[in-house]
Symmetry: C2
Subunit: 219 residues, 2 copies
DNA sequence: ATAACAATCTAACGATCGTTAGACTAATAT
DNA sequence: ATATTAGTCTAACGATCGTTAGATTGTTAT
């Protein structure tokens, strides 16, 4: 019957709303930013290198797709990801893109020769090494993002403070630096700087979203 | 530096290609159809109620995003899903849509009061019951799709043959009918018919994609 | 009250997308 | 060789989208 066709059209149309939200590069970047923690429109615009007007327009789309939520705080509007499932979706669509699109695979290979992703076992080992203090896990994102969520036993040292705080780091140990994820290049820069200064540094191209850690609300 | 901005733009743009492919209702429906097994453009157009020209145009987009592959067979072009990851993505974006979009949740609730999804344990139990023959798992999709992939111990009985083949079904046992997935209504119709005929029938709103079963190539 | 600021809303532009029709290509059938 | 069938390519239409500018709404500071 033609009725069931109408029902089907309606169902697929709804799912397509999510696809549409994920069809713009800037909206994806905004989602990744929000996976790091809640942020104001101003901050989001600055971090993604777009105007506040454009950021507001894109965030509106994400809000209409119920992927993000807002809260007014003084004269700022704070955006946050709706729930953990949104972060999982971001990781999942990115994984499919890296699996299917050769252009993306090559761009990432050019970027860094680091291992692309850790297996769950790798992660367990890393956590164990970090707990015992055999390696130092360094979170080089802004402090607020570290507060919202960070990898187990990680230490906060924002990239712009790194140079002046090198003395806090132990000389003999391996340093594992991470940031917002594989498309964020702060940890790449950090490793470059650390190696220059004689440290044994490794780049971990993952972040809290990849580890399934949802950011907490901050006051 | 502005250079890292260019790199980032490039990376997010690639991921957005996948989002763009998933931003059209018809393309999503085509993906779901292909999750059932490989099909010609003609078949895909008929099953999704669109013209062959439009189907060809949409399939082209999916091909450019490397989500589907083609093979020429005589004067037909056979489309198939690129790999299992694509099917997983379809299940994942649909899950997010059902989680976030109230409209979708309500539409599905109106459609049927059946349980929405089975837990892994539920699936194990069902397989066990099907193996021992305590329930009959009925695949009401076209026979070719059953051939390409089907749930464990399922029996093929296409919806259009169901009425004439009722004698093949045991009277006392519970019959679990499934089709292409929660947005496909063939199993709903089948259960309606079976109940009318005095059978104890249940609708399973899942399909091979939800069970992580990749369709095999047919000759 | 007035000014400054954060953010949204409205309107507008060019670019892209969904859809359809018509010409075209390649494979099969007569 | 001609006709038929399956599918793609091109061009074109209106609709939607991304982006920017200008006006507007709240909120805070003076």
């Amino acid at each position: 019957m033609e009725n069931s066709r109408n029902i089907k059209d309606l169902l697929y149309e709804q799912v397509a709303r999510i696809g549409k939200a994920a069809s713009s590069p800037k909206r994806l970047e905004l989602i990744e930013m929000l996976c790091q923690g809640e942020k104001s429109v101003e901050t989001l615009a600055r971090e993604t290198s777009i105007s506040m007007k454009l950021a507001s327009a894109h965030l509106r789309e994400l809000r209409l797709a119920h992927l993000v939520e807002t809260e007014k705080q003084g004269k700022n509007v704070i955006y946050r990801i709706a729930n953990r499932e949104v972060a999982e979706f971001w990781v999942s669509i990115r994984a499919l893109a890296e699996d299917r699109l050769v252009e993306l695979k090559m761009a990432l290979a050019n970027l860094t020769s680091d291992p692309r992703a850790l297996t769950p076992q790798d992660r367990d080992s890393l956590v164990k090494l970090a707990r015992t203090g055999d390696v130092v896990v360094l979170d080089v994102r802004p402090a607020a993002e570290y507060e919202a969520a960070h990898l187990p036993y990680a230490q906060s040292m924002p990239i712009d403070q790194l140079k002046s705080r090198l003395a806090e780091l132990p000389q003999g140990k391996t340093i594992v630096a991470y940031c917002r994820g594989p498309y964020c290049l702060m940890a790449v820069d950090a490793v470059f700087l650390l190696k220059q200064q004689g440290f044994a540094a490794i780049h971990l191209p993952e972040g809290v979203a990849e580890w399934g850690l949802a950011p907490v609300r901050l006051e």
